[in-house]
């Protein structure tokens, strides 16, 4: 069996790149981020979870947020790419292969962060398979991810080979991408004890931001590499982003109002706290939603450059939305009484990620860029 019969591998693989100012800057940033990632990994190997600032009261930290960020990019990219195939959306055609491959690579990049969050990843693979608990959302992620990866890969192969049930594969890739992202949202939504996230808000928010993440990622690539052939697709996707960003903004406004006027103890405190942090106001709301929406609505239709800048900040906003989610879930202590001598009754659980957590979580972006670089050099994606 020759792999080239199935995967479109380039005949002459070369890792050279044109030394333009932009490409050199991107390369240097990527190398720096990968170095940061390796620093974090080495720190983790030396000190284990002690290298993190997670505590009994705040057991999930920055890495869970980083992982959920990559999951959003993965699912969004594949949903857009596979929808283009399934619904024959001509304008997306030049992007389809990239969307599918980037989706897979983003998930792998997410795993590089998640690998160091989970204490026993090998045990996870073994016992999720032989002793899975069907009432656990985390178990269902273990079911949906392999199916998502399988059907995304099959869609990619059958699409490039132009044979096989392409539309069936694309439909299944869409279904399992949505299932995965809904389940990822459910991990937080099903935490009845954590009123900040319990309910259906985050399932919907994850789906919306996933697709936005896919659009932002593609726009950024189109702008950075000046891909004229992608511009029509980006102009079309820009319109989609207006609807999604507007929806997201409305969702947040309603969430805030319901949270404040509902005045449910535990929930109102968390919403009040998170919605008044700089991380939320500046990054998640301002740069992540309002600025891209403003640019999409008021920017010139063909001005992809400005939308590229908005897309960069949009991605930053999505990253912060995940961090704020993880923090909001755990910011209110579940015990309301003093439990340690000389400790006053806690009102807020403070958490600041450690250097190691930042290094692995942010460094995973460099790993993702490296994966994309390899894909561009090895695979025929045009």
């Amino acid at each position: 069996m020759n792999i080239k019969n199935y995967i479109p591998i380039k005949e002459d693989i070369s890792f050279n790149f044109k030394p333009t100012l932009l490409s050199i800057i991107i390369a240097l940033i990527s190398i720096g981020l990968i170095g940061l990632y390796l620093f974090g990994v080495v720190n983790f190997i030396q000190h284990g979870h002690h290298a993190y600032n997670v505590t009994r009261e705040h057991p999930w930290g920055f890495l869970v947020g980083a992982y959920e960020f990559f999951v959003a990019l993965a699912m969004g990219s594949v949903v857009i790419g596979a929808s283009g195939i399934f619904y024959d959306i001509k304008v997306i055609k030049p992007l389809q292969k990239r969307l599918l491959i980037y989706g897979l690579l983003s998930l792998f990049a997410g795993f590089t962060a998640f690998l160091f969050e989970i204490g026993h990843p090998v045990t996870m693979i073994i016992y999720t398979a032989i002793s899975g608990n069907v009432t656990s959302a985390l178990f269902w992620l273990g079911v949906f991810y392999p199916l998502f990866m399988l059907f995304t890969l099959l869609t990619f192969i059958s699409y490039t080979q132009n044979k096989g049930p392409i539309k069936l594969f694309a439909m299944l890739a869409i279904i399992f991408a949505n299932s995965s992202v809904l389940t990822a949202g459910s991990i937080f939504g099903l935490l009845n004890a954590r009123l900040f996230s319990s309910g259906i808000f985050y399932q919907i928010e994850f789906m919306v931001t996933a697709i936005l993440g896919g659009i932002f990622l593609l726009t950024l690539i189109t702008v950075l590499f000046n891909r004229e052939d992608f511009k029509d697709a980006i102009i079309a996707l820009k319109k989609v982003s207006i609807s999604l960003l507007s929806l997201l903004l409305i969702m947040y406004i309603v969430r805030y109002l319901v949270g404040i006027y509902g005045n449910v103890p535990g929930k109102v405190d968390a919403i009040n706290y998170i919605f008044h942090t700089k991380n939320f106001i500046i990054f998640e709301l301002g740069l992540g939603i309002v600025f891209p929406l403003f640019v999409s609505v008021f920017g010139k239709r063909n001005n992809i450059g400005l939308f590229g800048i908005a897309s960069f900040f949009g991605l930053v906003g999505i990253m912060f939305s995940r961090i704020n989610l993880v923090n909001g879930v755990e910011v209110i202590p579940l015990q309301s009484m003093m439990t340690k001598v000389y400790q006053s009754v806690p009102s807020i659980v403070n958490y600041t990620p450690s250097i190691t957590e930042y290094a692995i979580g942010v460094g995973a972006i460099g790993v993702f860029i490296f994966f994309m670089f390899l894909a561009e050099k090895i695979l025929k994606l045009d």
Binding site: I118, H120, T128, S131, A193, R194, M337, T339
Partner: protein, 187 residues
């Protein structure tokens, strides 16, 4: 086969913390304020010196509530958290992947990471120690000088705990979450 539970006459608690010490000693829980299976919650005394409201100081001994519908068990992806034959919620450390999902799901903050095994641990009603040796009391109950705790089989109508729950009013913590705790606070 039993259905173990515990009744707490919490107003008798004097916050001596003997239960915390006994639990650590009996079950080999590591030292450190963050590593505890049981704890005593304390309300600070209200007011300012010298006008202190001594009556405002209240102690609430607590631990894993041994829920019948335990959220920690529901979210565990590998069945590492399970109900044993006596209805006690326990952790199989071989299966625990340290995802800490259970720590987030537990409404009572009753779980912590055991740094020897790097798995999540919790109160087991001394199932691995005292109950395994055939004793019928938990370490915290046995050591309590004011008899706050009464441990026993909820299915046995003649047990002391069943008698207490029949004759005394009681409440459960965060009962609105539907977790059906088997720890009962006597009024």
């Amino acid at each position: 086969m039993a259905r173990y539970g515990m009744a707490l006459d919490y107003k008798n608690c004097i916050n001596c913390k003997a239960c915390e010490v006994a639990c650590k000693e009996e079950n080999g829980v590591l030292l450190g304020a963050d590593k505890h299976r049981i704890w005593v919650g304390a309300n600070e005394v209200a007011g300012q010196w010298p006008n202190l409201d001594i009556a405002s100081a209240a102690f609430l001994p607590s631990q894993c509530q041994q829920c019948e519908d335990a959220p920690c068990q529901e979210v565990c992806p590998t069945h590492a958290t399970y109900y044993d034959e006596n209805g006690v919620v326990r952790v199989d450390s071989d299966k625990c992947i340290l995802c800490t999902y259970c720590m987030n799901a537990c409404p009572y903050d009753a779980r912590y990471v055991d740094e020897r095994t790097m798995t999540v641990d919790k109160c087991t009603f001394c199932s691995d120690t005292r109950l395994a040796r055939g004793e019928m009391t938990t370490a915290c109950q046995n050591t309590c000088p004011t008899k706050v705790r009464t441990f026993g089989d909820l299915d046995d109508p003649d047990s002391e705990i069943s008698e207490l729950l029949r004759t005394r009013e009681h409440f459960s913590l965060k009962a609105h979450l539907g977790t059906k705790p088997k720890l009962f606070y006597l009024i």
